[in-house]
Symmetry: C2
Subunit: 335 residues, 2 copies
DNA sequence: TACCTCCATGTAAACGTTTACAATGTAATC
DNA sequence: GATTACATTGTAAACGTTTACATGGAGGTA
């Protein structure tokens, strides 16, 4: 109930409110004697500054908004944790907002484009319309993308081409030549070009090793375990089926494993499978996969945003994070 | 950059700021003609009210803090989603804060016990010290617990006794008589009595069916898959081993499955296993388990908090959510 | 002692709202 | 047409800070 103000502290310490404010903001223009008095009074009264007043006066919200898809995906949660970590030492509050549809996203982002809501905005694993980018630019509200891409904005992304290449190279080095590729639709306006980049990496790796790309070995469809299972079955039922499959996401890799079980294939004896993302379940399933630095992406994105806010930096930066191969039990030499 | 204020809107609409404020807060004391003028001016100037000023004036933060353990646990994330859903239609911002240690928790909660940070606080799946409860009470800051218990606070909990009973009954109905029970230490000050309640439910179910409780069939130890595996081995190596094991958490149930595999037992032929929580992996592993309404717990907790804030309700309420049996493949009739 | 300098502190005006109260205008009653 | 009553609008004071500017006093120099 009790909300003790600066005025009361000032009275108690027999100084003016200005002095109290100066002490609390560690302005140096204050005697150590009065400083002590003030601090003592604060402690006695249990004073805590009113944030709303401070924010109003300073014209800052000390708040950062993070917009992301539903919190159901473990990868999103992990990135969010990184953001939290980045913001923890700062005085900024983090308000995450998960949107369901792209309309939600746009209307919410539009409502954010207003200086009194946030000092900066993070967009995680979501595309953003050109119109909104311009809107943010025009009001000068800092915007940083994590796992999303836009040339005019500071962004933290992963080198998916390198990742796709890494996965494919791993299979080639094991001795595979007939290597299948399964992914979402490559031209998905909602998920950028990460899938496409992984496919590019796959193509590049094949090319480097002089293996001709065979379009019959490539399948794309809706995201999901079940869809992936069907695509994998099509590949496995080819006259000359692949001996290894690179699934562009772990969820899809799990579908591939389902298909292999269905056809009675042993893993990795009859079929090698590699995924992408290193989700939680990949560990239980012993799935070889490509790891993205999820936590770090959040961390770097958060830090970048803080820096932009504090230094008024304008030049957009691209932070490219490395991927790594997580070697587990679903890949091996072909029979 | 441009931050248009009420004053500018007032000038544009040729009215006073008070009138603008009245229009925007849908106070009825205003002519429809002036209302139109004001709304037109707002639209033209792209006015959005300054939240900090509003909050300062109203003495409200329009913010709710949620304190929870690390966001690594999927169950916590799910509850958080429920909270978000509850708060979405309101004008309250949700700031989640995940704490690592119990010192973190206490110091953070203490820093929250200050009217200018939040209008209400949610504590999810964490114990809270008596001292802090009193602190919140004394400053009149609403506090609601989700998956935690305290007689003086409004709380959303699950009927773990019923859950334990349900799991045990399921096994009994299948024909099992020698039913093992594996759990964390039952007297854990960090996790309340949920484990203990599940045990109570187990005892009650046995009693109801006239089966004598055999203490040799009950094991408790540190939480974790590995620990559970060891406890299960001890049970399985008894002269007259149980034909079914109820593990008080899915993680522990997975350890039981490990032990069964190690002893070459078929599931559910030689051993039935039932878990608790219905974690994500339970689906993959085809584990029969008890489901907790995680999302709903967040939803109900959020709604309860909003109601307390808005109606100044003082009487603590206990909301007991039902559990349900998720029938999968690890339980069956004994041989 | 008189003067200047400099530093610590106090005074008061903002920040953008909301709202009690005052003032104005309009319609109704006599 | 004067008076009243009421509905609408305006005026101005808050809310709790920060900070530019004013003030005052101590110490140094001549």
């Amino acid at each position: 109930m009790s909300s003790v103000t600066m005025k009361e502290v000032a009275e108690r310490a027999k100084v003016s409110v200005a002095t109290v404010s100066r002490v609390l903001n560690s302005s140096d223009k204050v005697t150590s004697k009065t400083q002590e008095k003030v601090l003592a009074a604060c402690k006695q009264l249990g004073y805590t500054p009113n944030l709303q007043a401070k924010r109003l006066k300073l014209g800052k919200t000390q708040t950062i908004m993070a917009v992301m898809p539903f919190l159901t995906l473990p990868s999103i949660v992990e990135r969010l944790r990184g953001v939290q970590q980045a913001l923890a030492p700062s005085e900024y509050d983090l308000i995450p907002f998960s949107v369901g549809s792209s309309e939600d996203r746009d209307s919410y982002l539009a409502s954010l484009a207003n200086r009194s809501r946030a000092d900066g905005v993070l967009v995680i694993s979501m595309p953003i319309t050109e119109k909104l980018v311009q809107r943010f630019k025009s009001i000068g509200l800092p915007l940083v993308l994590i796992d999303s891409n836009h040339p005019d904005l500071t962004r933290v992304i992963v080198n998916d081409i390198a990742g796709g290449k890494m996965a494919t190279n791993h299979l080639i080095e094991l001795g595979h030549v007939r290597i299948g590729f399964i992914s979402d639709h490559l031209e998905n306006p909602l998920h950028f070009c990460s899938m496409l980049d992984r496919f590019k990496g796959y193509r590049l790796a094949l090319e480097d090793k002089g293996i001709e790309f065979d379009p019959r070995y490539q399948k794309q469809g809706h995201h999901g375990r079940e869809e992936a299972r069907k695509m994998a079955l099509e590949l496995l039922d080819l006259p000359s089926p692949p001996t290894a499959i690179f699934a562009a996401s772990d969820t899809q890799a799990i579908g591939v494993l389902d298909a292999a079980r269905e056809r009675g294939l042993s893993i990795p004896g009859d079929l090698s499978v590699i995924g992408y993302d290193n989700i939680r379940d990949a560990d239980y399933l012993n799935l070889t996969t490509i790891n993205q630095p999820l936590f770090e992406s959040g961390l770097e994105g958060g830090q970048a945003l803080l820096e932009i806010i504090e230094t008024d930096e304008q030049e957009p930066q691209e932070k490219l994070l490395p991927v790594s191969l997580i070697l587990r039990g679903t890949t091996g030499e072909p029979k």
